[in-house]
């Protein structure tokens, strides 16, 4: 029984930490897809690009990966700015069907991935930092020992700060409210003297910019290789949809739910079942509650 | 009016906690020109979505042509004789104008066992609308008024007994409004019952024989255009809405 409690407690702690990490991976997509309705399926691969930049900075100059992520964030902001410029002019302006926009990002995904393969090869890469490979043990009584790996703790703390900052920015500032309004009523914004395209461009760039810090967390938590983004494709979309489109706090909560579900399933049934659980939750939500767990508007229309 | 074509029997519709329609009852007689008015958000579109089947009313019944259609899917109702246009035109934009008309002709007509020349019938409808020349154009080349006419033409191609025209004139010029009203009169002369949802009072008053007014999901007035104009509740509803 004590062993069961020990395992459960550890699974819960790891699940919450993992949830924070997943939130950092998903928050950018929650902005671009959830708020702006731009289906950036290249987002996970942009995260991997961010991870490789962190690797480069870390292995060349020994820069701490978290710092490296902060350094690369402006670069991703500019990248997002440029991508939206193309996306808007080619697809959105002409009212082109979403199918083409989807295909555009699908193509981008493979271009970034192969670009990484050509530059870095297919080997797995790691970063060095003093907190990787260490853990913080909390011993309760005789049998219970909760170990918190520092790499997950660092990822969790950084992710929590970043996502809460974005959440606050989007809910408390004028620009943030404009971003939230842009998806619903472009006309109203125009009447208020705000250029909705500019708002969307900046917001999209913000969403992509999270790939800098998110990618850095990725390489802190696990070894990365160029095609890793594909594996996370389903996961981040699952979290954003589960959280409800347009809801940043919903994304956070959904990330933690998926994190805990995966961690508990991994502990008691084996990690290989974890994706079936998270995607099973997603499918069930889509089939019975398409607006997501915390969404307010109907997602099916 | 026991021989009504359409009977709406105390229907209600809720979205979450919001009540969009509350216990609305009314009837439309065969061949009637029926007006539906009300301020923005009063439930007009919700009501006709319930009639055409895009939404399901949670309470009440909808009887069409003597049959209960409350649980039928929209395409079955179209087959039974209810056709509609959309407020914001929704043409089949990858098809030509005449192909747009041949969709209902093929799916509704053939379903009823009718075997005619779809293309010729579609052309005839386009001619009555003055759009015959546009038959082979894509819908992307159409003007606003042509799109509105296409909405009505496509609904006509379903050979309806009841045609619901959902704000077919919004945003049109005065002359264009008259053009659309003429088309609707022509259809009515062919024996088609018409429900007109409209914001343009001039059009509704001129066209309708009888009008109902919705406000906040409730039926607040019913009568001839003259009666509606004088109705205090209607006035209040519209004035109230212009304040906000």
């Amino acid at each position: 029984m004590a062993i069961f409690i020990d395992l459960l407690l550890n699974a819960l702690v790891i699940g919450v930490l993992l949830g924070g990490f997943y939130a950092a991976l998903s928050i950018g997509l929650s902005i671009t897809f959830g708020l702006l309705d731009v289906v950036n399926i290249a987002h996970p691969t942009m995260l991997v690009l961010g991870a490789f930049i962190a690797f480069l900075l870390n292995s060349t100059w020994g820069i701490d990966p978290v710092l490296a992520g902060i350094i690369s964030t402006p670069f991703f902001f500019v990248l997002g700015w440029l991508i939206y410029q193309v996306y808007y002019n080619v697809f959105e302006k002409s009212g082109a069907e979403s199918l083409r926009g989807l295909a555009f990002f699908f193509g981008l995904l493979f271009i970034i991935e192969v670009g990484l393969i050509i530059q870095f090869g297919v080997d797995h890469r790691l970063v060095e930092a003093p907190y990787i490979g260490q853990s913080w043990n909390i011993v309760i009584g005789e049998e219970i020992d909760v170990a918190i790996p520092f790499r997950l703790l660092v990822a969790f703390v950084v992710a929590a700060i970043a996502t809460l900052a974005i959440h606050a920015y989007l809910t408390k500032t004028f620009f943030g409210r404009a971003v939230r309004a842009v998806a619903q009523d472009m006309m109203a914004l125009r009447l208020m003297g705000v250029d909705p395209i500019r708002v969307k461009r900046i917001a999209f760039a913000m969403g992509v910019a999270t790939a800098g810090i998110g990618g850095a967390l990725m390489i802190i938590v696990l070894p990365i290789e160029p095609s890793l983004g594909r594996l996370y494709l389903g996961n981040v979309f699952a979290i954003v949809v589960l959280g409800g489109l347009g809801s940043i706090s919903g994304t956070l909560l959904a990330a933690v739910i998926i994190g805990i579900a995966e961690s508990i399933v991994a502990t008691f049934f084996g990690p290989s079942w974890a994706p079936a659980v998270s995607f099973g939750i997603l499918l069930a939500v889509l089939a019975f509650r398409p607006e997501g767990l915390f969404g307010k508007t109907a997602g099916a229309h | 009016m026991s021989d009504a074509l359409l009977k709406i029997d105390s229907i209600s519709k809720h979205f979450g906690g919001f009540t969009a329609l509350s216990n609305v009852t009314t009837e439309v007689a065969p061949g009637e020109r029926f007006g539906l008015i009300g301020p923005n958000g009063s439930g007009k579109t919700t009501m006709i979505n319930c009639v055409s089947g895009l939404l399901r009313n949670e309470e009440g019944k909808i009887i069409f042509d003597g049959k209960d259609v409350t649980d039928l899917k929209p395409h079955k109702r179209t087959g039974a004789g209810i056709a509609r246009s959309f407020q914001i035109p929704r043409p089949f934009h990858t098809m030509t104008v005449i192909e747009n008309l041949m969709i209902p002709a093929e799916f509704v007509g053939h379903h009823r066992g009718e075997k005619g020349d779809d293309r010729a019938e579609a052309m005839e409808i386009l001619e009555t609308m003055g759009m015959a020349e546009k038959a082979d154009d894509t819908t992307l080349d159409l003007t606003q008024i042509e799109l509105r006419k296409l909405e009505l033409a496509r609904a006509m191609a379903a050979k309806p007994k009841l045609l619901i025209s959902d704000e077919a004139m919004a945003g049109l010029t005065g002359q264009e409004v008259d053009e659309v009203i003429d088309i609707l009169f022509k259809m009515n002369e062919r024996g088609i019952t018409i429900i007109m949802i409209e914001h343009i009072m001039r059009a509704v008053m001129r066209f309708s024989q009888r009008i109902i007014c919705l406000d906040a999901g409730q039926l607040i007035a019913e009568g001839t255009p003259e009666e509606i104009v004088k109705n205090k509740d209607v006035e209040r509803a519209y004035l109230g809405s212009t304040d906000g």
């Binding site: 550890n10 930490l17 070894p223 890793l228 991994a266 | -």
Partner: protein
């Protein structure tokens, strides 16, 4: 042997501490891991974070032979016993041409800045031997007739940079030559230490062994 715990993982598993914890709960004497690079690295980190009382850990962990992962994981590898193909231990120098081949490979990697294994021990000698054997067979047969080449390769013993090779009835090597090595004495993340003898002691095969297996925890720290 009694199996107390057995589990699969999927390739995108971000954290392996739950699986190791669940395994530890069954108090195993040995942990056998068959993993791909992501899992290998994840489990090595989990072993550093959670630890284990098992006496032997390792087995078929793909990826720990890669230069990038070895350098990245560094001292976390100590104590793990894993398969390998070619390591810079003195007994491997018995084979003619092996060290010359690796020197040549490493200088080419450096000179042309190739995005490949910087050390070149893991697969390079075997890849070279593959083609070398095919080449020897083609020369001996004197034609490109596939059936004849196949028969020659099955029937003869070859001398290569990885020693003498003869194929058995089932198509595998007649005498298995996969190494089992144990990581020890790794102190930092410098890649060059893996190019010198001592960090990966050969446990098996016995005839070229350079050390005996030690318990997992005795080699940690």
């Amino acid at each position: 042997m009694e199996i107390v715990y057995e589990q699969n993982y999927n390739p995108k598993t971000a954290d392996f501490t739950p699986i190791l914890r669940a395994a530890n709960a069954k108090k195993p004497d040995a942990i056998y891991i068959a993993s791909y690079p992501n899992g290998s690295a994840g489990l090595v980190r989990a072993l550093a974070e959670v630890g284990t009382d098992a006496k032997a850990v390792g087995g078929g962990m793909v990826g720990l032979q890669f230069a990038g992962l070895m350098a990245g994981l560094g001292p976390m590898l100590n104590g793990i016993a894993n398969y390998d193909f070619f390591v810079p231990e003195p007994t491997m120098n018995l084979y003619p041409g092996a060290s010359a081949l690796i020197d040549r490979y490493q200088s080419k990697v450096k000179a042309e800045n190739l995005k490949v294994d910087a050390l070149g021990y893991y697969l390079v000698p075997w890849a070279y031997a593959n083609l070398d054997i095919l080449g020897q067979a083609v020369e001996a047969v004197g034609s490109l007739d596939q059936v004849a080449i196949g028969k020659y390769i099955r029937d003869n013993e070859f001398t290569s940079v990885v020693g003498k090779i003869k194929f058995g009835k089932n198509g595998e090597w007649e005498r298995p030559r996969t190494l089992v090595v144990q990581y020890q004495g790794i102190t930092n993340n410098d890649l060059q230490q893996f190019a010198t003898p001592g960090t990966r002691k050969i446990l098996l095969p016995a005839d070229i062994s350079t050390g005996d297996i030690q318990s997992f925890n005795s080699l940690r720290k």
